[in-house]
């Protein structure tokens, strides 16, 4: 990872020094190795704070909505999953493609600091990864964890590859793998209505309506959001009725249906650990089943499933046919 970071830094410097770009979007160091945050670097000096490590899970594409409208070009580092969001935003005319220089950067799966802490490790100072071993150095010594146990949930099922790049920095190939991202959704589908209702009630009742899932989502990029309308009847953000929670989550997920790239940011940022990806993936799975496989963000062209149709589309009542009562 260090070698990749050095290479990225080198390119960022060259691009800024050569005046090819006015700014570089990347990740900035925090107080600890795991509290990195997205940042814009405009000078070579600022790059002192630049970092690319095992905790750079944040998707940088949404920042380009604003940045690509500024004067001068913007260079951005995009991981495989981030490039889908980028394409989708270009497709929706939210990003000015010609103002962005995309550097595709390798990703072997990012780590979840919360999952590491949940293993009872605190005061983490450094992390080293060799294959499936995660060597965590903390104030209390060194411990080795099994990588699949501590990667971000979104990385567990990721099979994405870069869909867009102007150049790439890939030093290590990611091994191919075969995972079913719909397994959890299928499990829920196999439950009874009562069980599903109970499951979602218990999950959604945790929601504190912080709106983090909405704010982070590259697909959720309306300038004015319905949830900010005090007259929407669902903006009380108080738990006086569970209806608000249901409404918020149904509308949030529906609004990104057909546009959600499954980047997994919503679940990553949720402070309440609500598995929001299981909502989005239901739509993705249904779209695949009903209208043919579709991956949002694979290209920046073409129509989305909800802005197109065929004359022989499935009828709503046939959706439930063959499903146990």
């Amino acid at each position: 990872m260090k070698d990749v970071e050095l290479k990225m830094l080198e390119r960022a410097k060259a691009l800024l020094e050569g005046g090819e770009v006015a700014r570089v979007i990347g990740w900035k160091k925090g107080d600890f190795c795991y509290d990195v945050s997205p940042a814009s670097f405009e000078t070579v000096e600022e790059l002192d704070g630049f970092v690319y490590n095992w905790f750079c899970g944040a998707n940088l594409s949404k920042y380009l909505i604003e940045m690509s409208k500024k004067e001068g070009k913007t260079a951005v580092f995009l991981k495989p999953c981030d490039t889908y969001s980028f394409n989708q935003l270009v497709k929706e005319h939210r990003i000015k493609r010609e103002n962005v220089y995309v550097i595709a950067v390798e990703c072997l799966g990012k780590l979840d600091a919360e999952k590491i802490k949940a293993k009872g490790i605190s005061l983490i100072t450094d992390v080293e990864v060799v294959d499936k071993d995660v060597k965590v150095t903390s104030a209390y010594g060194v411990e080795t964890l099994y990588k699949p146990d501590v990667v971000l949930t979104k990385c567990e099922t990721c099979q994405k590859t870069h869909q867009v790049k102007d150049e790439e920095i890939i030093l290590h190939e990611r091994p191919e793998r075969d995972v079913d991202r719909f397994a959890e959704v299928a499990k829920l589908e196999a439950m009874t209505e009562e069980e599903r209702f109970a499951f979602w009630r218990s999950q959604l009742s945790k929601c504190i309506r912080c709106n983090a899932c909405r704010n982070v989502c590259p697909a959720c990029s309306c300038v004015k959001c319905v949830f900010d309308n005090p007259a929407s009847g669902i903006a009380a953000k108080a738990n006086d009725s569970d209806f608000e929670e249901s409404m918020f989550h149904i509308i949030r997920a529906f609004h990104v249906a057909g546009r959600c790239t499954d980047c997994g940011e919503c679940s990553r940022v949720c402070p309440q650990n609500i598995p929001l990806h299981l909502l989005n993936r239901k739509f993705i799975k249904d779209i695949d089943n009903f209208y043919g496989e579709y991956q949002a963000g694979e290209t920046a062209e073409g129509k989305t499933p909800l802005t197109s149709y065929t004359e022989g589309d499935i009828e709503a009542k046939d959706v439930f046919n063959g499903e146990a009562k």
Binding site: E189, R196, R201, F243, I250, F254, K282, L306, E311
Partner: protein, 150 residues
């Protein structure tokens, strides 16, 4: 009508979104042909079935509906040419999703009813009201605040 309201104690509230050009006219025809359908079906006229935003469906449940049905022109016959094709996709996904969240699948329905199908309109409503009556009160997508105010 008598059947539904007299035999069972529970009378569901049904919200029916009907498109102006086909289904609303179909409802009209049902009325003028003296076909009966339950009075607890509250019709909301919309310019096109495609006008129905998923939040309308949820709002209807919030405001006390026990079932929501959407009626529009038959696919291919949309007054605006293609509106109902989009409706069909949108509602197929929404209804499937609501069921995934545990909302009973018989609480939502979509039917194509033309202006000439007064009899179909009455039959569809009778059938839907029966299904929702069997299900009982909507308890999974309601707003306590609204209920209290009633």
């Amino acid at each position: 009508m008598q059947e539904v309201t007299e035999k069972k104690e529970f009378t569901p509230t049904i919200v029916a979104f009907c498109c102006n050009w086909c289904s609303y006219a179909g409802a009209d025809l049902a009325g003028s042909s003296r076909l009966t359908y339950p009075a607890n079906v509250k019709i909301i006229r919309v310019p096109c079935s495609c006008r129905v935003n998923p939040s309308f469906v949820l709002k209807a449940f919030q405001q006390g509906a026990d079932g929501v049905i959407l009626c529009g022109c038959h696919p291919g016959d949309c007054h605006y040419v293609t509106g109902n094709y989009y409706t069909r996709r949108r509602m197929a996904l929404l209804y499937s999703f609501l069921n995934y969240m545990g909302i009973e699948k018989d609480r939502t329905c979509i039917e194509w009813v033309s202006a000439a199908e007064g009899a179909k309109f009455a039959a569809v409503m009778n059938d839907f009201v029966k299904k929702v009556t069997d299900l009982g009160e909507n308890k999974r997508l309601t707003d306590l605040r609204v209920k209290e105010g009633e």
